[in-house]
């Protein structure tokens, strides 16, 4: 079977992009091919969350959305959070609380936390723990990650 393709456009980190994608490519594959390689690919079946990107502001598993399903929609990757050299508050908090070690999981966690605090600024401790348990980190343990999210939440308040 020849590889079916489709032309789509989407807004990646605020910029309109037009591309021709194989219909079986995942959104994670697509953003990586467009240069947003901060999006990591781990398990490719929805378990680890390292491929997390925001689709119209909601966190999704980039490996479980087809690229063609993002047509006409806004996609945010880790590259889209900082404003120039100014890190996003969640990124700053991750640095300050040493919430990363190898860094493989970090883009996914940062996007997940940023979207949670955007949508639910008053998220309870229980809710923060529940949402942050969506992703896997095999290095730092979750305590510094949770400390960073709490700090970013406090800074917004």
């Amino acid at each position: 079977m020849s590889e079916p393709h489709r032309r789509i456009d989407l807004v990646l980190n605020g910029e309109r992009r037009e591309c021709d994608v194989p219909v079986r490519a995942s959104l994670a594959d697509l953003v990586r091919s467009l240069g947003a390689t901060g999006t990591r690919v781990g398990c490719e079946h929805g378990v680890c969350g390292t491929c997390t990107v925001l689709l119209d502001g909601e966190p999704v598993r980039g490996c479980l959305v087809l690229a063609v399903q993002a047509e006409g929609r806004a996609v945010t990757t880790i590259e889209g959070l900082a404003e120039g050299d100014d890190l996003h508050p969640v990124q700053r908090a991750f640095v300050e609380h040493r919430a990363l070690q190898c860094g493989f999981c970090t883009p996914g966690f940062v996007l997940l936390a940023a979207s949670l605090l955007d949508r639910e600024p008053a998220a309870s401790e229980e809710r923060i723990v529940e949402v942050m348990s969506s992703n896997l980190c095999r290095c730092t343990g979750y305590a510094p990650i949770l400390a960073a999210v709490r700090a970013a939440q406090a800074e917004r308040a």
């Binding site: 590889e3 079916p4 194989p22 995942s26 079946h45 929805g46 598993r61 087809l66 969506s134």
Partner: protein, 271 residues
């Protein structure tokens, strides 16, 4: 890229989706079950028909009963304040499905059509005596949940049929959902849904048989006024769990008794 190649069609309307459905074509909704299967190459459909954008199939309508459109995301069910009170178990069930970023995509109809024996929403549909409404080019059928689930990942749905909505009948006055999973977001080792109506208490069990099932002898024990602990023991005998790498059959059976007891006590406290 992991999936095998397929043709892709995005449906602009329900009619267009129905027109495309045949034995070679699979419906793609939220993709949270189908895309992992494709990535593992456990499924090799020639074509996907994407219904992800059919907004006409999304939404929750609470009147006497509750109608949930097939494209309603788990996250929307979990957040819907109208579902507090008698329908609370639906919200709790939805909140137990995987992780939040999976619930922003996964759909109610997808979960029902996928028919995982551990699926919380299938268990809720069975326990609330919901109907699954399905459409094909030739008409509409309304299938009772009890007749819909045929086995693990098997349903009464034909190749050319699309689930359009799930209808929960009026009459529930309180409901509770309980489960235990090894970690938050994992599939449950056992799950329990209990629903109070004027006729009595419906007791449903998940993850402990080929489909979600009703604990009939436990329901009867409850109706004849037996204490919660013996109703719970009866429920443990109503199921047929298997052993796997996550838990033994004996453990699951004991867990069913614990969860049923907990659910009934909470039901009494809320009713």
């Amino acid at each position: 890229m992991k999936p095998p190649p397929f043709e892709y069609l995005r449906a602009g309307s329900v009619e267009e989706a129905l027109e495309a459905l045949d034995g070679e074509t699979k419906v793609l909704a939220g993709g949270q079950s189908l895309l992992p299967l494709l990535n593992y190459r456990l499924a090799r459909p020639a074509r996907l028909v994407d219904v992800d954008r059919l907004e006409e199939l999304a939404g929750i309508d609470v009147e006497d009963g509750v109608r949930v459109g097939a494209l309603t995301r788990h996250a929307a069910v979990e957040r819907d304040e109208q579902l507090a009170g008698p329908w609370q178990a639906l919200r709790v069930a939805a909140a137990h499905v995987g992780h939040y970023p999976i619930r922003t995509r996964g759909t109610f109809g997808g979960s029902i059509a996928h028919a995982d024996p551990a699926a919380e929403l299938c268990l809720a549909a069975l326990t609330f005596d919901a109907d699954v409404v399905v459409r094909s080019r030739t008409g509409t059928r309304r299938i009772a949940a009890a007749d819909f689930f045929a086995g693990p990942f098997a349903t009464a749905l034909a190749d050319d049929e699309l689930v359009t909505e799930i209808v929960f009948p009026a009459g529930a006055t309180a409901s509770v959902f309980e489960e235990l999973a090894p970690r938050t977001g994992d599939f449950a080792l056992a799950s329990v849904c209990v629903v109070q109506t004027a006729r009595g208490v419906a007791i449903g069990l998940g993850s402990v048989g080929p489909t979600p099932l009703r604990a009939r002898s436990a329901e009867e024990a409850r109706a004849s006024g037996e204490p919660v602990s013996s109703v719970a023991r009866a429920a443990a005998q109503d199921c047929d769990p298997t052993s796997d790498s996550h838990a033994t059959a004996e453990y699951r059976r004991a867990l069913v008794a614990t969860l049923v007891e907990r659910a009934l006590l909470r039901l009494e406290a809320t009713a």
